[in-house]
Amino acid sequence: MGETTASASLKRTPLHGLHVALGGKIVPFAGYEMPVQFPAGILNEHLHTRRAAGLFDVSHMGQIRLTAKPGRNAAAALERLVPGDITGLKPGQMRYTQFTNAQGGILDDLMVTSTGDHLLLVVNAACKEADLAHIREHLSQDLEIEPMFARGLMALQGPAAADVLGQHAARVRGMAFMTGSFVMIDDAECYVTRSGYTGCDGYEISTPADACERIAKLLLADERVKPVGLGARDSLRLEAGLCLYGHDIDTTTTPVEAGLVWSIGKERRTKGGFPGDHIIIRQIADGPPRRRVGLRPEGRTIAREGTDIATPDGAVIGKVTSGGFGPSLNGPLAMGYVDRNHAATGTKLALMVRGKPVPAEVVPMPFVKHTYWRG
């Protein structure tokens, strides 16, 4: 019940004034003043997004543009830091990958989109300065590295997103999941990707800083669109089984343990060429010592981050890394890491909540079916 006061040292996004005007409850998050919820509340915001469309301010995330220096190859350079297949990205394609460290741990996870001329990265807010330094340290010879931290970034998510945004930029209707395109919205040059962090269909819209609020208001003028804060963003991504950096993945977890092998390029799984490649390649071959799994507790008790995961006879075999209430599931859900021998779907486990074991079962993720639009 502690109340946090937003401090003057915190940064603001281009939508700060709008958040306040809309009655957003502002909290400090990753160095920014951000809305955790609006007056509708987290439950309503979550359910509205799954039913119609939610508008999220994600301008706090880091946008970085990479451009090859003459005679260099930007994708090949970036592949030295990430296990994803970047050289295979065609113009307009987008991919999820991770910056890894020498131990195969994850420094950050990110989205990479090729425009043909550039690579556009979207990285986590809390990591963006470190990511920038990391890229500069390793790739300055090959790349022009431009942080675009002042730009706006919004996510429009939900089944109505395509029709809402399509009214302002018709071409976005035909874009497939994980593609991007330059699009004019209300006379502002934006970069739109069909992507998101909710498991729903939708877009992320990168805008010039001075056009962000105008475009947000334009989208909110559609009655199907409601503003959504960080609270529902978290419950939506958790239902979608998506990792939150600093919680479900960090420098001590490998992409293999995290169940992210799908994001590692096929060739790169044998050839390597990224930090920690030996460890990651060995884990792919032999299986990791532990795995990230989805968990459904019985009843309605919520097992939150840090909860011990035990076998039915009480041996602790892991920890919850994200846990909460799933409004669309109408029940509790969690994810966490367990010893590999207890990671199979259907395994009966116990979550130790307030000293008492709550029966739970390992379930496949996502918890709520993805509804991406693949064309």
Binding site: E3, L43, G231, S235, R300, F325, P332
Partner: protein
Amino acid sequence: MAKVKYTEEHEWISVDNGVGTVGITDYAQEQLGDVVFVEVPEVGRTIARGEAVAVVESVKAASDIYAPVSGEVVEANGTLADAPGNVNLEPMGNGWFFKVRLSNPGELDGLMDEARYEAFVKSLG
């Protein structure tokens, strides 16, 4: 006529014939956000003033509910299992948590009346 008293932990207790009904205040439910689960104490349990006796889970966090007085739990609000949202809708009505038979009614004197509680909430900003 039942008298209502308040704690600094934002619980209320309404006492009638030696039995107090306990819940959380409107300020508390507002701070918690959408309540999705309430763990109420078992009937028959003896509780001491200040003891954590119930848990309220919102979409944001779990919070302990502390016994505002000592006594024996005589009833728990079973309807919250299916309708935890009542804590948000009617925190001082259908959203009550449990009833306690007071073993030391004098403890009520240490709690705030409505005017003092309102001033206390205001002081929190």
